[in-house]
């Protein structure tokens, strides 16, 4: 699945970038993210409850930052395993 979109946020790029790399904020930004604990530099243990309609599952795994270029870009890579299988995704965020 590929999702694309853009959002307007009333704040400076620096402020948005710094917020996003803060795990407490980031956790609230990832839908279904029940747990995000820092385990190393730019790496986190994550529990994500994901689903569409009646198809739901809980995935345990990692989230990490890549390609951090403050204030314009970051990538979040997620990798989790759960009963329904596994979940892998990456999100490229460009702040303009």
């Amino acid at each position: 699945m590929k999702l694309e979109g853009s959002h307007q946020i009333e704040a400076s790029r620096e402020r948005v970038h710094q917020s996003l790399v803060n795990p407490e904020v980031l956790q609230r930004c990832i839908p279904g993210c029940e747990r995000l604990e820092e385990t190393g530099e730019n790496t986190f243990a994550a529990t994500i409850r994901a689903g569409v309609g009646s198809i739901k599952g809980v995935f345990n795994g990692t989230a990490r930052f890549e390609d951090l270029r403050e204030p314009e870009h970051l990538r979040i890579v997620v990798d989790g395993k759960g009963a329904p299988g596994f979940l892998k995704g990456s999100s490229d965020l460009d702040l303009e």
Binding site: V52, G53, S54, I55, K56, G57, A83
Partner: protein
């Protein structure tokens, strides 16, 4: 292909069903025909803890003409709609759409309410109920409310049903005047679902020009949708080939058509235009 263990209850009345759902808002799921839910359960993609079987609540299954309304009970099966002489006369889009669903066995179990509540992006019913501007009656512990079809289908496999609510009736304004209807579908060769499905409810003025058109499209986007741009473009025209051809160019306005293993987004867009055109022409030819 074995589901996770679940509880199974058969309420005798709708009120009982609602109470059961309320007892476990997160883990309870309504079961009607089961042909969307049970495959998901067998693949363990859905793991409800409690199935509330409403298929046996006789009062939820009916096809009625009341005044200027057609009322369909939510657990009316596809087959019942397909074979209804009443509907063949007063709203043939419904039997035509029903007949295109799955196969004989599926049509004997699947229900219009279940199909609509599941909101499969390639399901047939959503296109038809959108074209007919249907209204849904939803019931929960907080009582009843109605929702227009277009507001009901929110996203991929997601509707505006609140946890604990059951869709109990589908209301359709009886087509009147000079109307013609058609359902065109390109079935996926494996699943039988709509690669593209177009439902058209066309109403003409006395002079043969287009008074209004309801056009529901499925299979193309994350959910079924009304092709308003096409409807607007058709209104007032004399529905000649050029007018129709020009109108259907807009069938995917604002939509990013799905790409999957079977068909690309570009091809879907093309099929949507072709089959919307064919559906409009077919509906027009059927106007009395």
């Amino acid at each position: 292909m074995i589901p996770v263990e679940f509880d199974y209850k058969v309420p005798a009345t709708l009120d009982e069903a609602i109470a059961l759902l309320a007892s476990d808002l997160d883990g309870a799921k309504v079961l009607a025909g089961g042909h969307s839910l049970i495959p998901a359960m067998k693949l363990r993609l859905a793991q409800p803890q409690l199935l509330v079987d409403i298929a046996r609540i006789k009062s939820l299954s009916y096809i009625r003409e009341e005044g200027d309304q057609i009322l369909l009970g939510a657990t009316t099966t596809h087959y019942q709609i397909e074979s209804s002489d009443l509907l063949k006369t007063i709203c043939p889009l419904l039997p035509e759409c029903a007949r295109s669903i799955g196969d004989v066995q599926v049509r004997n179990k699947g229900t219009i309410g279940g199909s609509v509540a599941h909101s499969d992006p390639a399901g047939d019913w959503p296109a038809a109920v959108l074209a007919l501007d249907a209204e849904f009656v939803l019931v929960g512990t907080n009582g009843e409310r109605t929702e227009k079809a277009e507001d009901f289908f929110v996203d991929l496999l997601t509707t505006s049903l609140l946890p604990g609510e059951i869709l109990r009736e589908i209301r359709i304004r009886k087509p009147s005047g000079r109307f013609g209807q058609a359902y065109q579908k390109v079935p996926h060769p494996a699943s039988g679902f709509a690669v593209v499905g177009v439902a058209v409810n066309l109403v003409l003025n006395d002079d043969g020009s287009c008074k209004s058109a309801g056009i529901g499209i499925t299979g193309v986007a994350v959910k079924a949708y009304r092709a308003h741009a096409v409807e607007t473009a058709l209104a007032g025209t004399n529905l000649d080939d050029n007018a129709i051809a020009a109108a259907v160019e807009h069938v995917c306005d604002g939509i990013n058509p799905n790409t999957d293993l079977y068909a690309s987004g570009d091809y879907r867009r093309h099929l949507a235009k072709v089959h919307t055109r064919r559906a409009i022409q077919s509906a027009k030819a059927r106007v009395q």
